[in-house]
């Protein structure tokens, strides 16, 4: 009997070791890349900035140099560290949870943002910076990073969802893209494209990019204003049915290789004229110019086709909010610098010039500096911002709650995979079942 107990203990300890061992691959570690600005200035206040995008680090680095020129008495030494996506968010979560080790400024991706708006919020409100200029913003974008009327994130772009058409294929099929007003027109055009070129009209990824923009455009979402889950409501079921039909019935849309818009496989597929169009936020311009050189001059941007029962022309999607953490040694300075970098007029102009992002401040959209020729106008066409100005009042935002990350997770893992790719689940059943699962999680 003693022996059994002893061996039992041993197994128990092994089990403990086992359960504590998982996840070691992803914790800790140093930054992939570190940039420093203002390190040669004496008395400069040191600020750290974490991001998961190397281009954002360069952007902040450049901003710090401009700041130091304009504010020599309040110079800053900015250290920008780039980490892998998951690692950065995990480290930030643990740093804020434990009250130690967080940076002054940090990029938080939209799907992760609600995780940081729980408990005693460890981010600083940006309202004092935003209040005087808020009328110049498309506020739907700011709302995504807010809780109880406090804004915590400075947006990187508006992320207005648009359709990118490959004109080579559209011309071959004889489709006039300006005649596509509604999604039904889009499907009809798609059939024409498929018939004459054999190519799919569209690509539907099996993560939330294949669903969220479409329901938001219908004025629907995952939650109502009271925070009640509305995932399986009439509009959403109808929309998912529509998408399912595009892929599995009319076969005018396919799941992109790699199942996502940001994979090597997909870049190659699209670059080779694999699909006639794709629906994705404006920020994707940079992906076109970087990874699809063969499509130079062949792509036209248009607002999304509308649903017959809604006027919404575009949806602000994706995007990263930069926040100031409460652990910052100089919160005021960090906030002012953030405001200078991303909220000011100049900052918004730079967002377009350096990163090719549609600035969240609409008052810079016809600024001569924004209109000045650059690689994006060359690759696409000149009237990009006229299109945006035209639909400015018809851009919808999305309603974020603390459970939004769970919904996005479930959508990718269960709903879209089964309904769109495997085609073995009915849209209605999939959404209703997932809604039940989520309600269990939301206690």
């Amino acid at each position: 009997m003693k022996k059994i107990l002893l061996l039992g203990m041993v197994i128990f300890l092994l089990g403990l070791l086992a359960a504590c061992g998982g996840g070691e691959e992803s914790s800790g570690g140093s930054a992939d890349e570190t940039l420093e600005a203002g390190s040669d200035i004496e008395d400069a206040t040191e600020l750290t900035f974490w991001t998961f995008a190397g281009t954002h680090a360069e952007f902040f680095n450049d901003a710090a140099e401009r700041w130091n020129e304009e504010n020599p008495d309040r110079a800053i030494k900015l250290i920008s560290e780039t980490y892998p996506f998951d690692q950065m968010h995990n480290n930030l979560l643990l740093a804020l949870q434990s009250g130690e080790g967080a940076p002054d400024l940090v990029d938080i991706e939209i799907a992760k943002f609600p995780n940081f708006l729980q408990g005693d919020i460890q981010l600083e409100s940006l309202n004092d910076q935003l209040d005087p200029i808020i009328d110049n913003f498309v506020t739907e974008r700011l709302d995504m990073y807010s809780k109880e009327d406090q804004y915590y994130g400075a947006p990187t772009h508006l992320g207005a969802t648009v359709v990118y058409y490959n004109m080579d294929i559209m011309d071959e099929a004889g489709v006039d893209i300006d005649s596509i007003d509604t999604w039904d027109d889009y499907v009809e055009a798609g059939k024409q494209v498929l018939e004459s070129t054999g190519k799919p009209m569209s690509v539907i990824p099996t993560n939330w990019y294949g669903f969220w923009p479409y329901i938001s455009q219908k004025g629907s979402g995952f939650f109502d204003d009271n925070g009640e889950l509305t995932l399986a409501n009439e509009d959403n079921i109808e929309t998912l049915k529509f998408i399912d039909e595009m892929v599995n019935e009319h076969e005018i849309a396919v799941v992109p290789p790699g199942a996502d818009f940001h994979t090597e496989e997909f870049y190659g597929f699209m670059n080779d004229g694999g699909a006639a169009s794709m629906t994705v936020p404006m920020y994707y311009m940079k992906d076109f110019t970087e990874y699809m050189p063969d499509l130079n001059g062949k792509i036209q941007i248009r607002p999304m086709p509308v649903w017959s029962d809604s006027d919404i022309r575009s949806v602000a999607m994706g995007g990263t909010g930069t926040a100031v953490t409460s652990q910052s040694a100089d919160v005021e300075l960090a906030k002012e610098f953030l405001s200078f970098t991303k909220l000011s007029e100049e900052g918004n102009i730079q967002l377009w010039k350096q990163l090719g992002f549609d600035p969240p401040r609409w008052d810079v959209w016809d600024d001569p500096e924004v209109r000045a020729d650059n690689e994006f106008y060359e690759y696409f066409h000149d009237d990009i911002f006229d299109i945006l100005l035209d639909i400015r009042d018809d851009i919808s935002g999305v309603n974020m709650t603390e459970y939004t990350p769970d919904v996005l997770e479930e959508l990718g893992a269960n709903v879209l995979h089964g309904v769109i790719r495997e085609d073995n689940r009915e849209p209605e059943d999939a959404l209703k079942e997932t809604a039940e699962t989520l309600k269990g999680q939301m206690q």
């Binding site: 643990l94 496989e265 990350p405």
Partner: protein
Amino acid sequence: MLETPTKTNVEVNRESSRLKRMLNFLNSKKVVPYVFILPFVISFLLLTFIPAVQAFVMSFQKVLPGQTTFIGWQNYERILNPTFYKALSNTTIYVILTVLILVIVPIILSVFLDSKLVRFKTFFRASLFIPSLASIIVAGTIFRMVFGESEVAVANQVVTFFGFEPVDWRYNSWSAMLLMVLLCSWRWMGVNVLYFLAALQNVPKELYEAADIDGANVIQKFLYVTLPHLKPIVIFVSTISIINGFRMFEESYVFWETNSPGNIGLTVVGYMYQQGIQQNDMGFGAAVGVVLILIIFVISFVQLLLTGAFKRGDE
């Protein structure tokens, strides 16, 4: 200095005798083992035991910055959901497959490698062992490329060569399981072969001679002489494989990170990581961890009872 020489001598004597007694004490048969295991015990207590107890406490809490509250059994009540069942069933299938493969195949391989008929033994032994030295991240990246979706990926070229349709390896549940099991088996095969090879050296030659005299054929010799002598190693290898199987994380992570389509690659530890860290629900993650400990404990216990590992050899 010269004033009280005797006193100093006495002091020196006293000190040295104290030192001696101290050393004697540390050297005594009763104490010495504890001295040697002390470093392990300390690191175990600090790095494993205390965090484990904290995790246990945490599993009854909702952990948010500045607002940690006890919520009773709520985390445990939420565990019984379809995603957890999916993770558990994935993990269980994975454990069964890896245990079967990693016990049976290495036995056969090690018998071959031990046989006098096989040539280039060292080469085969080394090439079986080398995969276990590879980093799983590196190996996983290569595997992901080999099993890419495109038609020119290695695996699909092989499949199409034999006249089958190319497969979307990472998007079907059967092929997802295949990928994970394959990666794990490929990595640990060599290690297990080593264990069995070592055990084979201990089988007395006389027994084979006796069996020869009794007219036993090759298969009979394997079943009635070799296998019984391998039993302790079989128990050891299967226990380790079961425990490692249930705590599996990396084999799934390298293929899909934590979000596999239809959760086909989700494991219990992956679920714990996803919910606890990625979704900022540490209390729930801790509860999943506690349930996992219990599962591993019960299964290992039952397994060791059934295989008779608790019995003495002479009973």
